[in-house]
């Protein structure tokens, strides 16, 4: 189950992928701390750590679910929508427990859907949210095993469907219960206030517990072994007497559960639920974390530690950029994630690539790829430098130089290869 790279550097006791990510995280943190003129990472390390932890924990919780599904050979695209859905369910259930006087207190309260609610209500609401996660998981399993939809299609359907279902539900129920429909519910109970206060610790703990549980399941139980088996060779697993459908049921429900929990935290964190906008594209980051952490989309390969570190890595880099680029860093978030994913997966495969005699830029395709890549690189660096102190002026120069240099390097590789092919 360990990544094939396990062969080289055999003397090193720990799995290589995980080690590499860990080192990368440390490196990024230190370098950023040094480059950042305010050295926030050193001066305000606690605040920064909190900041990173809060996001990493949330992402990690979802990534755990995603990784289990990926290992069993499926894919869950619905996490983001699932988060929105569970949060909405939670809020709506609480709505039914709002005391009359709150409702009586003028239209404002209802318009923006201010909710304060009894302890029982909160409890039931959270149970409801978790249940919603399990139900969606069951639905996925049903579509995948009984109707034999490819997991991609099944979860694509819920990805687009659940969010709008949540919106519709929200409009409908608020209308029925408050008389005025709204797509946004403000949740402001003392409990969730408390949760928001201590969010960092609680979500981190929950994440760690979940991670531990997942680790035990995957690497210490029969179920876990079966999960890897199915991901590796489903038909063989069936013929070895594994009830593949039930194992998948667990996987998808677990993923749904994780998203549901994340949904509760996110709701507490935002103190408002707005399904239309909540946690958009979260699934992409979750899958990215799993992939960066060494999970293979073919299934059968992946570890909990890797996934957790993957999530942490993503968040650290995103946060680091926010520290370096003072304003509007979120513009670059997507680029960062994209690049990390490509680089990470490439590096895990690098050993095999370098061994095999495969060319990086074969034939015309290669010749076309080279300028493309160089141009992209140049553009990125240029943008970057515009935001970074040194070399802010003479941007064009920087851009052109980078482009040309990468062009030269790649062309050189190309030449080498085509020479070697002779």
């Amino acid at each position: 189950m360990s990544a094939p790279s396990g062969r080289m550097l055999a003397w090193w006791p720990f799995p290589l992928t995980e080690t590499a990510i860990f080192l990368a995280i440390v490196l990024v943190y230190l370098v950023t701390g040094a480059l950042d003129p305010n050295h926030t990472y050193f001066n305000a390390w606690d605040a920064s750590a909190k900041m990173i932890l809060r996001n990493a924990a949330l992402l990690g919780i979802v990534a755990l679910g995603a990784s289990v599904v990926i290992i069993v050979g499926g894919i869950d695209l619905s996490s983001g929508s699932m988060i929105a859905f569970s949060a909405t369910t939670c809020a709506l259930i609480m709505m039914f427990f709002t005391q009359p006087e709150v409702q009586a207190s003028g239209r404002i309260a209802m318009d923006t859907g201010l909710v304060t609610v009894s302890g029982l209500g909160i409890f039931l609401a959270m149970v409801g949210a978790v249940l919603s996660g399990l139900m969606v998981g069951t639905l996925h399993t049903w579509m995948v095993t009984s109707i034999r939809l490819p997991p991609f299609v099944a979860t694509l359907a819920t990805l687009v469907g659940l969010r709008s279902f949540a919106r519709g539900m929200c409009l409908f129920l608020t209308k029925q219960y408050w008389g005025s429909e709204t797509e946004k519910i403000t949740v402001n109970t003392p409990f969730f206030g408390w949760l928001r206060e201590n969010n960092v610790w609680i979500s981190s703990v929950v994440f760690l517990v979940l991670a531990l549980v997942t680790w035990v399941i995957l690497s210490r139980t029969v179920l876990g072994r079966h999960i890897y088996a199915i991901g590796g060779n489903e038909e063989a697993a069936r013929l070895s007497g594994i009830r593949t459908e039930n194992v998948k049921w667990f996987a998808y429900c677990f993923s749904g559960l994780c998203s549901a929990i994340a949904g509760i935290f996110l709701m507490a964190d935002n103190s408002t639920v707005q399904p239309a906008l909540m946690a958009q594209g979260f699934e992409l980051n979750a899958i990215a974390s799993a992939v960066v952490g060494g999970c293979s989309l073919q299934g059968g390969i992946g570890t909990v530690l890797g996934t957790a570190l993957g999530a942490l890595f993503l968040r650290v880099v995103i946060d680091a950029v926010a520290k370096l680029i003072k304003a509007g860093a979120d513009v670059y978030q997507g680029m960062i994630v994209g690049i990390i994913v490509v680089v990470a997966v490439t590096s895990t495969q690098f050993s095999t690539i370098s061994h095999s005699s495969r060319q990086f830029f074969p034939g015309w395709r290669g010749i076309w790829a080279i300028p493309t890549i160089s141009l992209a690189a140049g553009m990125c660096v240029m943008m970057g430098s515009a935001n970074i102190q040194f070399a802010k002026d003479r941007l064009l120069l920087v851009g052109i130089i980078v482009t040309l240099v990468s062009l030269a390097i790649l062309s050189f590789i190309k030449l080498l290869e085509s020479h070697r092919a002779k």
């Binding site: 189950m1 062969r7 210490r220 890897y228 088996a229 991901g231 590796g232 060779n233």
Partner: protein, 510 residues
């Protein structure tokens, strides 16, 4: 005579494995040159190099006197070399004709694809092969044997003067094999040079002029067929003496373990409504029941039915230890004490991502748990015991299963099932693609298990094998039980007769 192919000290290494080591070999024009060797000896790898599938290697390759280095299959074809691969390489969604001309499609004058021309050409090829396959028929609807024939037709369509056949008959019915022989004869008359790989000695001796033996990626020796015999060849292949087998003698069957009556397996939406029809037999403790039949006769289905792995509901009654059973899922059969080693290791047997130990312990992992948690020591102990009792050649429990030779992989899978302490063991074609050495060991293993009180059902595509190992032989033809021979009665001829009974009508059917 100037050899048409000269292989000069070719070496090919894969990460971890040395597939070929300093192989040198001459092929004379017009001869049929057989290549023999154990699994993993490097036969296919060598052929892949010859046919340009594998591009990078050390050493020299001369074709027709010229030094060549093929960049791809296309280059090899231009040099006049075509290959029939060991595994089927067909696109199931496409028609037979499309597959034959894949990569070499005929074009109209306008540069568009000329499907009609290709279909006509395909029809012609099929006529030459004496088989009735519709050129328009999607490959997915064809029997495995016909698919293999398409591969052959594909290679013939190149009408190249060097033809490589890597175990072409492994999926063919006896009659189809005969046809193939006729085709080969015609080709040789045309002066085509043929390299022929097979694990079946009778074929090798019937067809070849010369035989080259590979062992562990090295050329051992090249012999002229007339001047040698099977013993010598197998000995050279394995590198040691193989004791002649005397199995099955004085095995005393115990009481009835498994009893099957009027077993039927429907085949919805198919002209022939039954995959299996009215199968009845009984299996005794300490007995090996062989199931013979042509490819597609329903042997696998039959075993799947007994194992609860069939995709459709099984009709008829299955009694295990006198108790009627209705298995809906393999796990139920497994718990009832039936174990099944599936055909086609690569696809249905091994878990490539898992190491040897995990592959062996998979089915019995529960036994190694305490409070729901797997204890790795007990798991290892479990697997280790099997490694020893089956004498599996491996670097250890943590070795990747894919690094083992076919025979040893098969042993691991048998071990996986023996751990479940079954009373009935189903073996579906356990020796397909397994070399003679490993085969012999497997036979002994079966014999031993049998004497230890296990009841075994084995299917095989090779009659000699069945005749060696089994006490009784059940013959299937097109899903119907056409005969049941005791060891004494059974001869190749009678079995073949029974196996081909009613095969003709079926041939018309599709």
């Amino acid at each position: 005579m100037q050899p048409i192919i000269q292989i000069r000290s070719i070496t090919k290494t894969y990460p971890g494995v040395v597939a070929l080591k300093d192989v040198s070999l001459d092929i004379l024009p017009g001869e049929l040159h057989a290549i023999c060797g154990e699994n993993g000896a490097g036969k296919s790898t060598l052929m892949k190099i010859l046919s340009g599938v594998v591009g990078s290697y050390e050493g020299e390759l001369h074709v027709g006197g010229k030094l060549v280095q093929f960049g791809g299959t296309r280059a090899a074809e231009e040099a006049g070399i075509s290959i029939i691969h060991q595994e089927l390489n067909l696109v199931e969604q496409l028609s037979a004709a499309a597959n034959i001309f894949l990569g070499r499609e005929l074009r109209t004058s306008l540069g568009f694809r000329d499907d009609r021309a290709m279909e006509q050409a395909a029809e012609h090829l099929f006529r030459e092969l004496e088989c009735n396959i519709g050129a328009k028929q999607p490959v997915s609807e064809l029997r495995v044997g016909d698919q293999q024939l398409i591969e052959i037709a594909k290679a013939l369509s190149l009408s190249s003067e060097i033809l490589i056949m890597d175990e072409p008959t492994s999926a063919l019915t006896e009659s189809e094999v005969e046809r193939l022989y006729r085709v080969i004869a015609r080709l040789r008359a045309r002066g085509v040079t043929i390299l022929y790989i097979s694990h079946k000695m009778d074929e090798v001796f019937r067809l070849s002029d010369r035989i080259t033996i590979l062992r562990d990626g090295r050329t051992v020796q090249t012999l002229v067929t007339k001047e040698t015999n099977a013993q010598q060849i197998t000995q050279l292949m394995v590198g040691r003496e193989i004791a002649a087998l005397d199995l099955g003698t004085e095995r005393t069957p115990g009481e009835v373990v498994l009893q099957v009556e009027k077993l039927r397996l429907p085949w919805p939406g198919h002209a022939r409504q039954w995959r299996l029809k009215d199968i009845s037999f009984e299996l005794r403790q300490g007995e090996i029941l062989g199931i013979a039949g042509l490819m597609g006769a329903g042997r696998t289905e039959l075993l799947e039915c007994l194992f609860g792995a069939a995709h459709d509901p099984v009709q008829g009654t299955i009694r295990l230890h006198g108790k009627v059973q209705q298995f809906a899922h393999p796990i139920e059969a497994c718990e009832a004490g039936i174990a099944m080693v599936t055909e086609d290791r690569k696809r249905l047997g091994i878990f490539a991502e898992m190491n040897v130990g995990q592959n062996i312990s998979l089915c019995q992992l529960k036994e190694a748990t305490t409070a729901g948690l797997v204890s790795s020591q007990r798991e290892e102990a479990m697997s280790q015991s099997m490694l020893q009792s089956l004498a599996v050649k491996t670097a250890g429990l943590v070795a990747r299963i894919t690094s083992l030779s076919g025979g040893n992989q098969q042993k691991c899978i048998i071990g996986r099932w023996l751990l479940t302490k079954p009373t009935v063991l189903l073996l579906d074609d356990p020796t397909r693609g397994v070399d003679v050495g490993a085969k012999a060991e497997l036979y002994r293993l079966m014999d031993r298990l049998c004497r230890e009180g296990l009841a075994i059902i084995i299917t095989s595509s090779e009659l000699p094998e069945l005749l060696t190992v089994s006490d009784r032989i059940l013959v299937l033809s097109e899903g119907r039980q056409t005969a049941m021979f005791s060891r004494a009665e059974a001869t190749e001829h009678r079995i073949l007769e029974a196996a081909t009974k009613g095969y003709a009508e079926a041939a018309q059917a599709n």
